[in-house]
Amino acid sequence: MVLGLIGLVFGFLSVPSTVEEASEILASHEEHHSSGEEASHEEANFVDEVRQEHGYSEHAMAQDKDLGHDAHEDGEHMEHVLHQMQAKPWSAAFVAAFFFMMIALGTLVFYAIQTAAQAGWSPVLFRVMEGITNYLLPGSVIVLLIVIFAGEHFYPWQNHELVAEDSILQEKSGYLNFPFWLIRGIIYIIGWNLYRHFARKNSLAMDDAEDLKPYKNLFKYSVYFLAFFIVTESTMAWDWFMSMTPHWYSTLFAWYIFASIIVSAVTVIAIVTVSLKAIGKLDFVNDSHLHDLAKFMFGFSVFWTYLWFGQFMLIWYANIPEEVTYFILRIQEYNPIFFGMIIINFVFPIVILMNSDFKRVSWFVVIAGVIILVGHYIDIFLLVMPSTVGPYWSFGITEFAALLFFLGLFILMVGMGLAKVSLRPKNNPFLVESEHFHY
């Protein structure tokens, strides 16, 4: 709860700053865009250098309709830039909101996997996981509100004039139309939160239950939820992320986002576990449990890298104009963080968590965890920003304030979720096995 209170204070402090910053940016976008535009053309052209082909990336990006470079007239171009500038605070809020929502969602998925797999090591951590998922309800509603109200700032296909000129977008309108898209978003949120509600209910009922009924219910709901999630995660990724650049597509995209979700979630579970253990609330959790969490952090980091590489390699290898712009833009305009992210998300976890003894040292795990979280925040940043604001990105007060606000809200909700009931579950059929767990 102490942590929660601090979070609340943080949260309150950061709310006005987001709003202020948002309006400030909006007010001054006219000044910004002229300088921003110049800068983008002067930047060192990484892609061209690598390919030894002058003007390659310029040409490739010019081909891409999503980037709006086809509008050569100055007025139209300016309009586009203005549009991207306006999208910036929305994007900043979305990146942070989604980042924390996905942690809660990923934790829920991890929890469901543990119950469905009848894992014997993890039941001692179930209350911790349930506490983290307490953020899911507010978090997911905020995310949904952001994507709804961001509208055309994020999703060009919602602009009827644009669609009218674009035959490809017209073909897609069977899927990419506002009512259907909205219904889908609502379905995701209702489905996820329903599972969270019933899972928590049955988990608490288990404490006083005399038979296995709540346990069996929980198991059943977990399996159904996982089946529901594996589909909605894909469509969610297409709806909220891929359709930001509606001409671009990649079949792996949704699973790539899932990798980011799950690795961040496990990392947060580990960090929360370590902090609660440090204040003496989790005496029944031993370092074997921590070891296993750290193994998952390690494993999912490698998994994320695998998917990242799979997607990157295939798009780079095929070099199809419609697809390759996605990476050209990111390499060109976001070069340091694009490659930095891979080092943070792959090299660091590998090096830090390779040694099995280190996985049992709590401060080591926390350091690795913070690095992983930073890396995956950048990952989400890179999913959203290039698609919405193009080259006019920065990490300024808006982004930082959004991050702080949602961090505060997250800590508050998680703290509330953790404080409500005893952190030690009772009567879970695998609990004793979990308490005895020693590897």
């Binding site: 014997g120 894909s234 295939l314 096995e433």
Partner: protein
Amino acid sequence: MSSHYEAPIREPLILGEKSYHDISVDVGAPILGKANKSWWIVFSIALIAFLWGLGCIVYTVSTGIGVWGLNKTIGWAWDITNFVWWVGIGHAGTLISAVLLLFRQKWRMAINRSAEAMTIFAVVQAGLFPIIHMGRPWLAYWVLPIPNQFGSLWVNFNSPLLWDVFAISTYLSVSLVFWWTGLLPDFAMIRDRTKSPFQQKIYGILSFGWSGRAKDWQRFEEVSLVLAGLATPLVLSVHTIVSFDFATSVVPGWHSTIFPPYFVAGAIFSGFAMVQTLLLVMRKVVNLENYITIVHIEFMNKVILLTGGIVTVAYLTEYFIGWYSGVPYENYTYLSFGAATGPYWWAFWALIICNLIVPLTLWVKKWRRNIVWTFIVALVINIGMWFERFDIIVICLSKDRLASSWSMFQPTFVDIGVFVGTIGFFFVLFLLYARTFPVIAQAEVKSILKSSGARYKRIRESGEDLAGTAADARTSKYAERTSLASASNAADTYHQSTVHADALVDTEAKKSEIDLMLAKIGTYDPATQTADDLKKISGVGPVLEQKLHQLGIYTYDQVSKMTKTEYDLLDEIIDAFPGRAERDDWAGQAQNLKQ
């Protein structure tokens, strides 16, 4: 590993009243016994299929690839389909041994050996196809990056086909090492149990002189873990690279980024289906139903359900994104409306029905635990996964970007013959394996006997003591008493209070044996019983009576229950008159005195 405690809710993984020795006997039986008739029948069929395939291969190599049904548009079809099919099947083995080891799944122990064997045999079949397809297999070494003096050209490192060469050969070697490492203690078990000097020699060599010392076990476990860590990324990488073959180069301009993880999931899916096919038969033929139980089958079905679900989502994604992309060419790829209604509609629907619809029945617990249905589903999935590869290659190629070159593929008898031949070869290898290798990793199964064996679960849940339960009548002469002791001695495992034998026995082991003896013949309770005059038994004098008292023997009733084993123990402890008790038939005398 972890302690022997296991949640009672978990179902036992080893059925029947199995002791440690039972496991050795059951696993060793197929190797030490003779093959039955059904083995010879199946083996002959497999051998004929293999020889037929061999003939087709010889015909292909001596005549040329033209004997296959390939044409200008569809330049590879059955060969690459079969290749990927076999590689995919090979995936389950390493997944079970490596990934499930890392996840500490106990049920893997009963099936990992055969799954790994299957992996190796399947990869061998897979490797044949690219070599035959080369046309001049004696130049196969040209795929290696060797200097031009050997007559080859420098290989093209940009091609995923070359990466395949490295990935699959690495995979084969690591799987082989992994498999063999696990086999060492089991080979040693066969070496120690066989009576034939020839087998002793062979298995002695195969087991690399395994001695069973603690140091051996420690190294064994470390190596297993390291190999599991190495094999896990390898499993992923092999099929990832196989998927690159198609994701980058089937039809120029078409590719799909989901291929790497989706191929891996599909490979596990098909591999588990093949494991089911083989093990459902094998458990029956070599009487291993107590080790490969319905629980194992259900777990494997759950893995099939999970990987099948992932594959389903991947199919839907492929289909959806194909439409979503708005690219008209996508309508000619294997998962599209065009494919579903085009000339290869039957292949498309075979894929959908076999891989998506039929496995859905496994959601029902009753069907998941039905052996016949499981077998049918496994066969259907094997067929479906063959069609998946056929569809990806042949459907995609049949309508490439140039409408004038569109074409269909017609397999010749040679195509079919080679494929059937590899199936035959696979079964020949597997059947030989089933007769000469310990098909269950008995050393590993023994490590979970106490936690997951039905017998131990029963003993633990009834609150009895586990002490002495590991002994077996065939390996220890005190075993009979051991089991009795555990029955009567549950509450107090410490030595009997009526025994004051410190002068006679010096070791704890001896004391335990005395306890065991008393457990069988009954203990003397001074509070309720009166001591009989043991001197009335002929051959027992005052000194001997005193010694018997020290051992806790006071009554005729106790003496009357003695048998040869007890006499032997007495002889050991009181070595004054070897064989006397038996000669004088103390038990018979005491029986008479009792009345």
